[in-house]
């Protein structure tokens, strides 16, 4: 049983830009969890592009001015996929907090080290079928 250290915080803090998510979903590093029941069929990616656009995430009932005690907005989240489909989901508290773990970059390739990048308490989950929407 080789032992691998699991560090409790990242060695190189992730530099964050402004976080576009509602406050409850924000974490210090900006990481968040999104869960879809099903899969997203991606178009063939051109290797030159660093990202593949999927769509937009909308929190229709959320307003930054809402008091934090107001959680009604969590019941409705939309994920528009491409031009014609929409998933409806919600913001949910994870039953147990989840640590996001990655391999730590070290000079010593022989000795693996892991680190906790972030601890996440909430997720956005889409468990219903996609519905068609007009553009």
């Amino acid at each position: 049983m080789p032992s691998i250290p699991l560090h409790l915080s990242p060695k190189d803090p992730i530099s964050t830009i402004a976080n576009p998510l509602p406050r409850v979903l924000q974490t210090p590093t900006g990481l968040a969890i999104l869960e879809i029941q099903g899969t997203i069929n991606l178009p063939q990616a051109s290797p030159s592009e660093s990202t593949i656009p999927i769509g937009r995430l909308v929190f229709p009932d959320y307003s930054a001015d809402n008091p934090s005690s107001n959680t009604a907005w969590m019941k409705r989240v939309h994920l528009y996929v491409g031009q014609h489909q929409r998933l409806t989901g919600e913001v949910k508290k994870l039953p147990k907090a989840v640590a996001v773990i990655k391999r730590r970059e070290t000079n010593d390739a022989a000795n693996e080290e892991l680190e906790i990048m972030e601890i996440i308490y909430w997720k956005v989950v889409f468990s219903s079928r996609p519905e068609p929407v007009g553009t």
Partner: protein, 346 residues
Amino acid sequence: MSTQEDSGVPFEMCNGQQHLRLLELPSALLEQITSKRLSNLTLKSATPNSSSQTSANAVLCTDNQTYRVRQVQSSNSIYVLQPSETSPEDGFIPTIGLSAIAQCTATLELIPEPASATPFLKQTVPVYSGPESGTQLPTASAPLEKKNKHAILERAPCSLGEFNKACEELCVFEVDGQAWLPTASMLANVWKSIISGATMRSVNLGEGFSIATLSRIVEEDGHPTALFRAVMDRLSSNDIELMDDYAALSREKAVPWVGLVLLQSHHMSTEAVLLSDFLQDWQNQLLEDWRNNAKLDALKGKYSQPGNGRIVFDESGGSASASSTPAKSGRNNTRKWHEKFKNARR
């Protein structure tokens, strides 16, 4: 950003996906991590070539707690998102969107598993049954490299605290960078040497005494000093720190321990011993004012009486307290260890 309310947050998939894992944190562990009371987490995973049925397992250890790691596959797509800047084709001002940097198909669950290192130590640590054990290593039949406690801990599926506790229970000791597990009869011999040395020098083991004096006597009887120290650690009172040269033995620890060690060493040589003989032997091996405590109650769950006024070592009835006893029947436990892992794999 101004149109965010209307059009939402752009969502995209990162082309170079990272390899991230999600680990569910039980609330107790989470609290330890967030309050920064935890200094250290170690993931121990079995190597493919590691022996027997333990190979499918990984454990996560804090300083004194062990969690079994279970991988749970999910049919859902779980993405880890990170804010990212996107430049719209027609606009000049980059908008802030979300980029899925990793997809996790499985979540790691942690199941608290109070681990006893005892069975592992019995499997791993070479048995010390006398001074000749030391000279036998390494031989052709046992070409193992020297392993000190630290090297064994690296491979043990448990935390440091649990490991140290089991080492103390079993009186595991180290000589020249090699850890040894003394047999019950070896421990009984060491104890005889201690008690006769103490009588000779009128040392009262129950009160403060100098270890050095006793250590010399025990050493003259051919026992390693490290083994003597291990026995002292095992039996000394909790409320008195074992200092370099000063100790007091605890009656509560020593009386049952001596009984058990004696019973086990009988067990190794013969099948059953007469109860009356055993009790007398036990009492003779104790300090005078400890003798009244030498009752079978002290060995509850560790013996059985097959009849004819005889007694044998048998811990099958004492499952609850089984893991906290020193030097138990190795064979019995080995089997339990395997069963445990078999269950864990299901």
